[in-house]
Amino acid sequence: MKIEHIEFSVLSDFHDDMLSPEKREAVLALIRECAACKKEYEDLQTLVRMVSCLKGMGIKNGDEFTRHVICLIETRRTRSYFRKLVPSAAVAALIVFAVGLDYFGGRSQRTETATTMTSAPSVDLPRPSINGVRAIHEISSDYGIKKTLSILRSNSARVVMMSDSYIEGEAPARGFNNLCREFEAAQTHASYGMATPVSMREPEMAQENSVYIAEQFAASGARDGGIVRFRVNLR
């Protein structure tokens, strides 16, 4: 190695023992021979020693700090444990809420039906559905099919099925009493010898009416809540 003085970087590597054995020997020889290189190396040693003395810096109260960190770790661990339970608790709460909603929602619907029955005792409203099968309320009509359909339409009922002898449909529970009364009125008139409307069996007309009635039914059903299935027996 042909140099007059050793470079600082080489001295730094020499100090940290990062040179190959051959190069290290060469640098060592130069330090022994050259006073300037020796001085440079001693300055480097002093510098590193001074910096290393900063090891004395530290936390003022180490024991207290240690205790504080351990407490913090315990606290965070407990909090983390409960945080892990949050999703489970949320799911449980949702289930309870859904069950409660189903229970109380169903009860309020039953209550509404019962109220309707109380206010109109003359009409035998169907009981709530059992296992998804809803009871059908039977009504007799002395009117013809056209008038019957007209009455159904005016009461926002929806025709589901129609034949020569009966009409099946659904009507909002709230207006169902009026519907029944209209048909009962026709029977009263007939019993007193009044003329009953002429029967008209026109399926096309009924179909048109059923479309209109279906729209009305959807609106009123959504507004009023429960629905009643019925069958109007034509005479």
């Binding site: 001074m50 910096v51 003395c53 090891k55 530290g58 936390i59 351990i70 913090l72």
Partner: protein, 190 residues
Amino acid sequence: MSDINDLEIVDRVLAGDNEAFSGIIQDYQNRIFRYVYSKVYDYDEALDMTQEIFVMTMESLKSFRRESKFSTWLYSIMVNYCKNYRKKRERYAVIPITRGDGAEEFELQIPDDREDPARDIIDGDSLRIVKEELFNLPDDYREILILRDIEGLSYNDIVRVLGINLSSVKVRIHRGRAMLKKRLVERGFV
């Protein structure tokens, strides 16, 4: 504390003995604190950061795969935490050190185990000046001199902790020492 002792403590902590972690904290708290302090220059902030680093270490202890020394792994957590902290809080990147107030913030101790204290030129004032000049170095040089000359990490450990190659480590150490020496010479030291 040797790496074997560290690993024994890690095993105990993983077995459920949280109190055993206090051994790790006691051994490394000042080392972590010194590095962190050199980043923020604020005692309380550095204390909070140090404690967060230990909590983070404890929480991620299960992921320690023992491919490196525990100390190297801990220093890696420390360096990454400080990098992320810096990203969050940019303000301390430009805070200069006010000369003359270092001793009030720190309890600088001269090690008592020196062979010949009378011969040593290092006293309290000298340490304060060395600390000021060291902390005034550019971040890359300051960081690497702390890891190498204060904490005594090997070059290979520094490579792992900082995630840079060996030649970069050497260059930064050379330049950092040269720069520090120049500044101390200007102030009448070395």
